[in-house]
């Protein structure tokens, strides 16, 4: 079923080591999350690719265990 916010954060952090990651449990139900990810590795990369990097870090859990994760990526200022 659902995933723990800490678990999501750890996976993204592991996959994109330089990222700063913040997870928000949108409804407090452990099922609907938003992830804010800032990483220098997103520089010059299309939005689709940036999100694909996050999905790759989540190792196939997106669309499976994780059904509702809104993703917002950005490059550090």
């Amino acid at each position: 079923m659902g995933m723990d916010a800490k678990e999501i954060e750890a996976l993204i952090q592991e996959g994109i080591p330089d990222a700063s990651v913040r997870i928000e449990d949108l409804r407090g139900d452990g099922d609907h999350y938003a992830a804010y990810i800032t990483s220098a590795s997103f520089e010059g990369v299309s939005r689709v690719k940036q999100h694909q990097m996050v999905y790759a870090a989540l190792k196939g859990k997106m669309g499976g265990d994780l059904h509702a994760l809104a993703i917002q990526t950005s490059v550090p200022k």
Binding site: R47, V48, H51, Q52, Y55, A70, I71, Q72
Partner: protein, 109 residues
């Protein structure tokens, strides 16, 4: 099999300026994320072809493999994958989506 599916998807996104793979139909979305993209496109007044993946399990998986993208909805403009719900919303809010559609010569109906 995957090749046939990819061909079918390619044909579909090539024959419509704007194609939305979604859960449910434009008139009756069956998922909040799909519904949001329908609303954005309606707001922009852009005609689009809606394709309901819930009616076809092979397509539901096939479209994910095609774009290497794990979720539905998926928006395509002139054969190019634009993104899912988050990207569409971000691009709409920043005005980039309208710019993209204009650049591709897609006019509001």
């Amino acid at each position: 099999m995957q090749n046939l599916m990819n061909e079918r998807i390619q044909k579909e996104i090539d024959s419509n300026d704007v194609t939305l793979f979604m859960k449910g139909e434009a008139a009756f979305p069956q998922c909040g994320f799909s519904s949001l993209v329908v609303q954005v496109l309606s707001q922009l007044g852009v005609p689009f072809k809606d394709i309901n993946v819930l009616e076809d399990n092979e397509l539901r998986q096939g479209i994910k493999d095609f774009s290497d993208w794990p979720t539905i909805p998926q928006l395509y403009v002139k054969g190019e994958f634009v993104g899912g719900c988050d990207i569409v919303r971000e691009m709409y809010e920043s005005g980039e989506l309208e710019t993209l559609l204009n650049d591709k010569g897609i006019k509001a109906a």
